[in-house]
Amino acid sequence: MQQMLNALTLGSLYALVAIGFSLIFGVIRLVNFAHGDLMMIGAFSTLGLLQVAGPLWALIPVLVLGIGFLTGSLIEKVVFRSVRNAPMITGFVVTLSLSVVIQNLGQMFLGAQPRSLRLPEFFSSRVEFAGLSMPAIDIVIPVTTIVLAIAVTRFVYRSRVGAAMRAVSENIVAAQLMGISINRVVMVAFGLGSALACLAGFFWGGKFGQIDPIMGLAPGLKAFIATIIGGVGSIPGAILGGYILGFAEVMFVGFLPPEYASFRDTFVFGTLIVILLIRPQGIFGIDEEERA
């Protein structure tokens, strides 16, 4: 039971990051390898905000979302806009380089040593639920993730701007002919995705208690994989992929003999390969015709 809860928490964090991957890839077909580093930015923003927030700590997650939105849209404007029409491989290399730059800048200015991050007591207070006792953060993470996942899905499938995002995703020229501003749609996708990744950084730091400038690397990679499992560009797919990965990881640790547990990624990634062999386009993926 405790394992299920861990899986749910971990899966939620992957899902939060994966949604952003999917949003960004959906609109501009860019695999953003710097996306995981937004988690680090979110975590260090939390560290800074904790020093000044005092009794207003409940505002921190909201501020972290805001910081994420601004950082994401700024990165897009400064770095990615000029390579938007470049070959896909160029965009890929640029995001990879940006990731290295962010991590190294982090090490230069924030120090390479891990820092401890302690969220206010509320998050560690024990909650009794269904005969289990758990820290509040283990409830807060899945609940927040599910609420945000529903909100983002509704935004993409019901709102006017969401329809514009899907239109750009399908046919960029036709979307422009409708009067949709590509720059604005791309900015919203980056901002929204980055906001969620920053919040994931807040939760990640809060749950595991330690943050460092390269903390975004591993979860970023896993969230990317979650996106692929779910079907690239599909928001529900990204969410499902995040949970599948979270559960797979925790279950393999739980059921494997201890001497194999530290090699859990072998089994997790093995499962991934099997899923993709059966369904190459991912679970919710669509066979994509070349976009106009």
Binding site: R160, A164, A167, A292
Partner: protein, 241 residues
């Protein structure tokens, strides 16, 4: 309505349009005739702001409301009343008919007006009402053409650029589309620039037209004159087969 002067447009390194000049008058149907690769589609893409213009001028309207097309983004052109219904229809295949129509009215933020315009679209093409909740990609070519046209009209264009509406359609459907175009032009006063491989049909519908040859303007004239021009008859009207 639309004045184009010495327009030069490149695609990559290819000089596609060379010193093209002509004028489209308010309320007319203007037909662009030319063989494949003559630059007709490129011209429409340049006018709607998708492809950038290298040199020359292109102005929509006149007086204080005139819009400089050369430095405008596509959304500016749509807002100014120039709407482009592209070649191959380009409906959003994964989205429903209704969503496609709503996207046509993307820059309109008055829900009541959008609903009224959608009702008119359904009256014009009743099949779209039946297919309202269907994904556009699952419809036939003719239905997709109707959707593409209805979607373009949702933006309430003053001038409609139409690229190959008859492409791949059954003659009966093509006729229906052309009748609708005639209606839109007469009853709603929409100016139409028509690119059409079926030059005969296009020139019969149009009041004026021009001929593009290898990116250069060959002739601009009344449609009736073009239909009588022996060289045009031989090259584009397929007479004598």
């Amino acid at each position: 309505m639309l004045s184009i002067n010495n327009l030069n447009v490149f695609r990559g390194k290819t000089h596609v349009l060379q010193d093209v000049s002509f004028e489209v008058r308010e309320g007319e149907i203007f037909s662009l005739v030319g063989s494949n690769g003559a630059g007709k589609t490129t011209l429409l893409m340049a006018l709607s702001g998708i492809i950038s213009i290298k040199s020359g001028t292109a102005v929509l309207g006149s007086g204080p409301d005139a819009v400089d097309i050369v430095n405008s983004r596509p959304e500016t052109m749509v807002r100014a009343g120039l709407v482009h219904c592209p070649e191959g229809r380009q409906v959003f295949a994964r989205m429903t008919v209704e969503e496609n129509l709503r996207l046509g009215a993307y820059l309109d933020n008055n829900p009541a007006r959008i609903a009224a315009h959608m009702e008119q679209a359904f009256e014009m093409f009743p099949v779209l009402r039946e297919r309202r909740a269907t994904a556009a990609g699952g419809m036939s070519g003719g239905e997709q053409m109707m959707l593409a046209l209805a979607r373009a009209l949702m933006a309430r264009p003053k001038i409609l650029l139409l690229d190959e509406p008859s492409l791949g359609l059954a003659p009966r459907i093509t006729e229906q589309i052309f009748e609708t175009l005639d209606d839109i032009n007469r009853k709603q006063g929409v100016t139409i620039v028509l690119v059409e491989q079926n030059a005969m049909m296009a020139l019969e519908l149009a009041s004026r037209g021009c001929v593009l040859v290898n990116g250069r303007l060959d002739k601009v004239s009344d449609a009736a004159d073009l239909l009588r021009d022996p060289q045009i008859v031989a090259s584009y009207l397929g007479v004598g087969q």
